[in-house]
């Protein structure tokens, strides 16, 4: 390499400093390839994010409603005060968002870890199990919501039919005021546990065998080996899984809207922040209020991510 360097730099000084480049546009393109490559995508995302985000911030400070084109007045932080003092819709929605995400994530990580451990060592028929894991993951969420609507239907659903066989009275599931949120959490767990399995499995396969082997030699049993060796080593991957899933779980919309419709049902029983903000924007056209909700929602997401990233850094050390 170092032997080659002098002639190359002599040549490239003439050709615009980049080795091998032809003069003119090509040389210019090569010299600026960093930004030439990155800029189009960044401008696209920037225009589509920065502008709408700035607009949302602006709207959240106005009383815009009815039509986005209607005249609106600047009202300062009034919307934020209204939203933050709203104990009927906003705070319950915050609670639902957090409990939906928390419970769903906890189930998905525990189940996901269990399934990943089952799949860890090769076995016959592995291929078919892997296919089964992939199917819920790629299924269209709206279709999945409709599918569960039929299965959980109080009168004709298969779940109540099964419960009837063992003598349990039919449950209202999605139509019950208390059971609806839990039922949607179940749907989320069904669809997204496979995602956690795939991520954790990738983590498990990249683990080195030696610590586990050494612990085995020292007479540690399977549970000890899992809790004291595998789990600590897997912690960074577990947090990545929680991070990736958490962002999507906080923003869950499709299955909630598909199963319960506008406002998260007639008693708002599955109304999370995303569903609430969507309803304010597109069902009631309260743009000012909905923008304030969105900004607060966004801050919750960023906060959660930040906490998890900090945790990951601490664990990785």
């Amino acid at each position: 390499m170092s032997v080659l360097t002098p002639p190359r730099s002599a040549h490239s000084r003439r050709a615009g400093r980049t080795p091998g480049a032809r003069p003119g546009f090509s040389a210019w393109a090569n010299r600026h390839r960093k930004w030439l490559f990155a800029a189009p995508a960044m401008i696209f995302v920037g225009v589509l994010i920065v502008f709408p985000l700035a607009w949302t911030v602006y709207l959240s400070l106005t009383d815009s409603q009815g039509s986005v084109r209607a005249a609106s007045e600047f009202v300062g932080v009034q919307n934020y005060l209204t939203v933050l003092s709203d104990v009927e819709r906003f705070w319950p929605a915050v609670g639902r968002t957090l409990s939906f995400t928390g419970v769903a994530l906890a189930c998905e990580v525990v189940l996901g870890m269990g399934i990943a451990l089952l799949l860890w060592r090769p076995f016959r028929g592995e291929k078919w199990v892997r296919v089964a894991i992939l199917l819920p993951l790629v299924a269209t969420p709206v279709a999945v919501g409709m599918m569960w609507r039929l299965i959980f239907d109080p009168n004709i659903g298969f779940i109540n039919q099964l419960l009837g066989m063992v003598g349990i009275p039919p449950q209202p599931w999605l139509s019950g005021q208390d059971t609806a949120l839990g039922t949607t959490i179940f749907m989320d767990v069904w669809q997204w546990t496979p995602m956690v399995v795939l991520i954790l499995l990738a983590g498990l396969t990249s683990l080195s065998e030696e610590p586990d082997e050494a612990a085995r030699m020292d007479g540690a049993n399977a549970f000890q080996r899992f809790f004291f060796i595998t789990l600590p080593l897997m912690m960074p991957t577990v947090i990545v899984a929680i991070l990736l899933r958490g962002i999507d779980a906080l923003k869950t919309f499709d299955i909630l809207y598909a199963t319960k419709g506008k406002g998260g049902g007639s008693f708002h029983e599955v109304e999370t922040l995303n569903v609430y903000a969507y309803g304010l924007s597109f069902d009631y056209n309260q743009y000012g209020l909905s923008s304030a909700v969105l900004i607060l929602f966004f801050m919750i997401i960023i906060g959660t991510m930040w906490l998890l990233t900090m945790r990951k850094k601490a664990v990785s050390k």
Partner: protein, 299 residues
């Protein structure tokens, strides 16, 4: 990798050959036989849990509504193709299928064109801050973008056209593609490009003729996932699509806006949406898994 596996294999055989007694004692606490039975049972339970609901949907799509309401005919019934005929012909699902396909296809191709070079630059020049800007798109709630988009695009009289839908779906695809391709380019050795440049290729030439062909499987991964996400997308199409550009998820959602639900038809429609994507998934399993787990195991 192979060397490592062989190594452990050898150690294992050696230990068990030399000290069979100890090997047996070592495994005893676990109860190998019991564990095996448990593992098989657990795997069967997992597969049933994941597949049974989909199977139920498929069954219901072949039932008449009378049979769906008859709990005695859960598994034994006379299958009918009527629901599919209804959905496909009377409800014009072929149009929606085409719309979904077209939007997913075009948005994926355009996102690849923008995203692959960007991911390359961000990976090679370690532009972490720029990458963060693109990845922010994954975090922002979609609703906060929809209001301004709706305003601008309705003023431009573009709502209800394919362009808006494709743009909005690209917004999901592009960050996904950048994310997957960055971790893919990170894993490609830099030396190949360097030696190509020593041999006289320009940096862009080296990217085009060396790196890009090597990244084909990464591009396939990113493209397939982006297609699936776009096909499944609901919220953007709910607001931005018109009667002519309605995509399948929105069409299914509209199915239940009537007073009584036509369950057979609904399940047939749900099956029509999920089947194409599942077939794609079956044939591209390897890519999907590597894409979904991209960057997950790095420190």
């Amino acid at each position: 990798m192979t060397v490592l596996t062989e190594d452990t294999g050898n150690t294992e055989t050696r230990t068990s050959a030399a000290e069979p007694q100890q090997a047996r004692r070592r495994r005893k606490p676990l109860g190998t036989r019991a564990y095996k039975v448990f593992r098989v049972a657990a795997l069967v339970a997992v597969v049933l849990f994941l597949i049974a609901p989909l199977f139920w949907m498929l069954l219901a799509s072949f039932k008449t509504n009378v049979d769906i309401y008859d709990t005695g005919k859960s598994f034994l019934f006379t299958p009918t193709g009527e629901n599919y005929a209804n959905v496909l012909q009377r409800n014009n699902y072929f149009v929606f299928i085409f719309n979904s396909f077209w939007v997913a296809f075009v948005s994926t191709v355009l996102s690849l064109v923008l995203g692959v070079p960007a991911a390359y630059a961000m990976s090679r020049f370690t532009m972490h801050r720029s990458a963060l800007v693109v990845l922010m798109a994954r975090v922002i709630p979609g609703v906060s973008l929809l209001v301004p988009w709706y305003y601008v695009f309705s003023n431009l009289k573009m709502v209800g056209g394919f362009e808006v839908l494709i743009l909005s779906h690209m917004f999901v695809s592009l960050p996904l593609i950048v994310y997957i391709m960055m971790s893919y380019f990170d894993s490609l050795p830099l030396e190949l490009e360097e030696s190509a440049q020593v041999d006289g290729l320009t940096p862009i030439g080296a990217f085009r003729r060396i790196t890009l062909p090597l990244a084909v499987s990464g591009i396939a991964t990113a493209g397939i996932l982006s297609f699936i996400f776009s096909w499944n997308n609901f919220m953007f199409a709910l607001v931005l699509s018109g009667s002519k550009t309605k995509t399948l998820p929105v069409a299914i959602f509209d199915f239940v806006s009537y007073a009584s639900i036509d369950w057979g038809g609904l399940m047939a429609a749900a099956t029509v949406v999920t089947i194409p994507i599942m077939i794609i998934a079956l044939f591209t399993q390897k890519y999907i898994v590597s894409g979904l787990t991209a960057g997950a195991t790095k420190g």
